[in-house]
Amino acid sequence: MSVASLELDLEVFSGPFDLLLTLVLREEVDLLEVPLAEIVVAYLDQLESRGELDLEVATEFLVLIAALLELKSRLMLPRDDDELPDFEPGEAAEELLARMLEARRYRRAADHLAARLAAEEGVRYRAAPLPPELRRARLADAGPVYDARRLGAALGGLLRVPPRPDLAHVTIPRVSTAARVAHLRALLRRGATTFDEAVRGADRVTVAVTLFALLELYKQGEATWTQPEPLGEITIAPAGRRAVARAVAS
């Protein structure tokens, strides 16, 4: 089977592949309207139904379809006229032909290389580690390979202190968890309270740190908290013996 006799049934064209090729090159069929993917699928179908792969034919098909793809993509991309003039039908055919000739040239070079490799069959080179006495170099065999200036430059780099970055524009809020724990304990000494109460008038960072403080108290067993519904009010209550003991002591 040759590529030429690949039967196609496309919307814009029905017939053998080589006829399509000719019509495209003579611009009787607009390449832009030819779905190349369908040609590939048709080719694969045919391959499958035949159950064998002729490399020669397969390569020819690939070269042809690749050339068509490139021609089509060039047609699809608008270009400046002086950069790349439109193909005349004859030129397109020449381009396709040149492509196939080039592929053929390197296929032959490949045959030559494969033959050369086969001719060297049986010529083996030695791949053994060096004897131990040669593995460790003697100082006498060494020459200068490093530049001492590199050391001076490295030391100069270490003497340099980068200028202190100006942090004046950054305000660093200072809220400590300890302070918020103390604040919560003070509230809880008077009984149950709410989270809103605990963070009344506070900024976002303080609200966040207060939440950490509350987690800390919960972990210590000093407080429990409940929230009946999502986004609802959080009630905080003193809990456990330690809290009671603390309340009694105070």
């Binding site: 000719t22 390569t59 060297e120």
Partner: protein
């Protein structure tokens, strides 16, 4: 055998890669023409059919290698083939790299009409090609290695036949042209007359 020839023989035995004459001269602390004379002496000692080893000029240097007479036994002793043969895709990719180097993978793909990624990767893994920087468009460029020259028994890339030798003949070109155009036109004629 002269002492210098003996030294050169030992150096070639130890060195994992082909060694150039200049390197041999530096190691043996002598002149290049003395090395050349020693190599001639070794050439006589290793005349074809004399020994189990031969003196090869490959990859711009000299190397000792086995004579194919021992291949069958070597395969049994070492339990591995010398180097696996190339698949057609690998051979084509290698040919394109050998003749056009440095060459990028997209360029190889353009010539072959089919992606060369796996073939290039295998050739690189087998040490036959290596990366050689990047093209102005950022694609990795490939070139052949000294190992390629050694395994293919080539002294240098110049030892490859000129690429024009592989050009299809005018007859072939004409035939291809025929197949591209006339075959289709013929069908066109047929369908018109049908």
């Amino acid at each position: 055998m002269s002492e210098l020839a003996r030294i050169v023989e030992a150096l070639l035995f130890l060195s994992p890669d082909p060694v150039g004459v200049a390197e041999l001269a530096e190691a043996a602390a002598c002149e290049a023409d003395e090395i050349a004379a020693a190599l001639e002496e070794l050439d006589r000692a290793y005349a074809p059919g004399e020994r189990g080893l031969q003196l090869k000029r490959v990859a711009g240097g000299v190397a000792l290698a086995t004579d194919p007479v021992a291949e069958e036994a070597a395969r049994r002793l070492l339990a591995k083939p010398r180097t696996p043969p190339l698949t057609p895709a690998q051979a084509e990719t290698l040919a394109i790299v050998a003749y056009l180097q440095p060459v990028s993978r997209p360029e190889i793909t353009r010539i072959r009409g089919v992606a060369a990624d796996s073939a290039t990767a295998t050739l690189e893994e087998r040490g036959l090609v290596e990366q050689a920087g990047r093209s102005q468009f950022g694609a990795v460029l490939y070139r052949t290695t000294d190992r390629f020259l050694t395994l293919f028994g080539l002294d240098s890339l110049d030892a490859l036949p000129s690429v024009s030798e592989w050009d299809p003949s005018p007859e072939e070109e004409a035939e291809l042209r025929e197949r591209l155009l006339r075959a289709g036109e013929q069908r066109l004629g047929e369908s018109a007359s049908a």
